[in-house]
């Protein structure tokens, strides 16, 4: 049971770290660009919210399967397939949780408005300097929300990980799938332990998030 929890946490942590790095420039561009076609990109990144996980899982599985056009590109590096591997799971999770990272960060960047960046420029901060010293700290709430949503969403996903990972014990089997398999095998004791653990975990994460936000707001208001 320890291994299945460990794989789940490793998957969620990796997905969160990768997504925060990938989503930040994308969210910045979506928040700041004035071109109309950015909305096409915005719609594409939001697709996983609407699509059933099995649809996304199906396409990612095909893309990661042996001799797919994508995998042909990786052939020279000795990678034939990523289907039913942990790496494949990470890729699927990143795509599946992308909107949960992009939306809050984009919202936080949009809420900034132009003024703080104009202030920074008038104080001789270059755009990159202003991004790191002004935009990022002011959007911290958005990043916190994104990180928690992505982490929790990855822990909670089922369809995508089942399609791409195939629930191979010790490799790609995560908690949510294990619970399903426990129930099918009538092992209610194990299912109970994992399910109750997830409930407690979800509560602690959300409660921690709300307390963090509260503290951040209090600090900003100088209380």
């Amino acid at each position: 049971m320890g291994q299945v929890v460990w794989i789940t946490i490793a998957l969620a942590t990796l997905t969160t770290v990768i997504l925060l790095v990938l989503a930040t420039p994308l969210a910045w561009w979506l928040a700041r660009s004035r071109s109309w076609w950015k909305e096409i990109v915005a719609a594409v990144t939001a697709l996983p919210i609407v699509l059933p996980p099995t649809v996304l899982g199906f396409y990612v599985l095909i893309a990661l399967a042996p001799s797919s056009p994508l995998m042909d590109l990786f052939q020279p590096f000795g990678i034939r397939t990523l289907a039913f591997t942990f790496t494949g799971l990470v890729i699927g999770s990143v795509l599946y949780s992308l909107p949960f990272a992009v939306q809050p960060i984009r919202g936080a960047f949009e809420a900034l408005g132009d003024r703080p960046l104009e202030v920074a420029a008038s104080l001789r901060a270059s755009p990159l300097d202003a991004f790191f010293s002004v935009a990022l700290p002011l959007a911290a709430r958005g990043f916190l929300t994104a990180a928690v949503l992505v982490f929790a969403h990855t822990i909670g996903e089922f369809g995508v990980v089942l399609m791409i990972g195939g629930a191979i014990p010790g490799k790609t089997e995560v908690v949510s799938i294990r619970i399903y398999q426990d129930v099918e095998a009538l092992d209610f004791a194990d299912a109970h332990r994992l399910a109750a653990g997830l409930v407690a975990f979800a509560f602690v994460v959300l409660f921690g998030l709300f307390m963090l936000r509260r503290r951040a707001d209090e600090r900003r208001d100088g209380r």
Partner: protein, 253 residues
């Protein structure tokens, strides 16, 4: 000298201005609301872009070939509403400016803090300050970035009467003690009379004539004092046994 010629559209509004003002003292830019005061200021700062040329004390900020970004211009900007960075304390707001300030002479940190009376505010968060306090901190911050030109966009207009009364004396002190050229947007004649050396008028995006000097009024220091102040000065002079020299500053009484 500060020279600019700017011509361009902001939505349905056209800005078409050309002027040359000395690179010292306070130039007030006055005009009714919607006349283009802020647009002109933003173009000078590089926050907005239209065609034209901008040259400040020999440095070309904009011409046909180049457009220098705001952060390279060495321009200080005090916004209409106090714009301290909300995630930083007052001290760290000021340090934000000082760390990135250019080379060359400029007021020291302590001196600036004292000049604007923000010593007691340094440890506070911007959210806890009154409007007037915030604006004073924002002005101190602009000065600490050691600008070659300070632009002030109606720094008092968002403040209530108490806030105005709080900030105005500090602006007068700055005007007396700084050599930095300032362009000061206002629509308040009283403010302009107290703070400006010359006036540029703008109406519907166009300047009405060249800058008018207010120097005549200032050549006679008594002309800027009211009767009570003149009496106080006279009393002080008598009390000192009429031993006052001409360098005596009437405002210190």
């Amino acid at each position: 000298m500060i020279r600019f010629r700017l011509d361009g559209r902001f939505g349905g509004f056209r800005l078409d201005v050309q002027a040359e003002v000395p690179a010292h003292g306070v130039t007030a830019l006055i005009g009714p609301s919607g006349s283009g005061k802020t647009s002109l200021l933003r173009c000078l700062a590089g926050l907005a872009r239209v065609d034209g040329e901008v040259e400040v004390a020999g440095a070309v900020w904009q011409d046909a070939e180049r457009f220098m970004a705001t952060h390279r211009r060495g321009v200080g900007y005090v916004f209409q509403e106090p714009s301290l960075l909300p995630h930083l304390s007052v001290r760290r707001n000021l340090e934000f400016a000082r760390r990135r300030a250019g080379e060359g002479p400029g007021p020291a940190f302590d001196e600036t803090v004292e000049m604007l009376g923000v010593q007691a505010l340094l440890g506070r968060s911007p959210g806890t300050l009154s409007g007037g306090e915030r604006q004073r901190a924002a002005i101190a911050r602009a000065l600490l970035s050691r600008p070659t030109l300070l632009l002030m966009d109606e720094p008092l207009s968002s403040l209530d009467a108490a806030g105005k009364a709080d900030v105005l004396p500090y602006l007068e002190t700055l005007h007396r003690s700084l050599r930095l050229p300032v362009i000061y947007v206002s629509h308040d004649a009283m403010e302009v009379a107290r703070l400006a050396d010359r006036v540029l008028r703008i109406e519907r995006g166009r300047l009405r004539g060249p800058a008018t000097e207010l120097a005549a009024a200032r050549a006679d220091p008594l002309a800027l004092l009211d009767e009570a102040q003149v009496r106080a000065l006279a009393r002080a002079a008598l009390a000192a046994g009429l031993a006052v020299e001409s360098e005596h500053d009437p405002r210190s009484t």
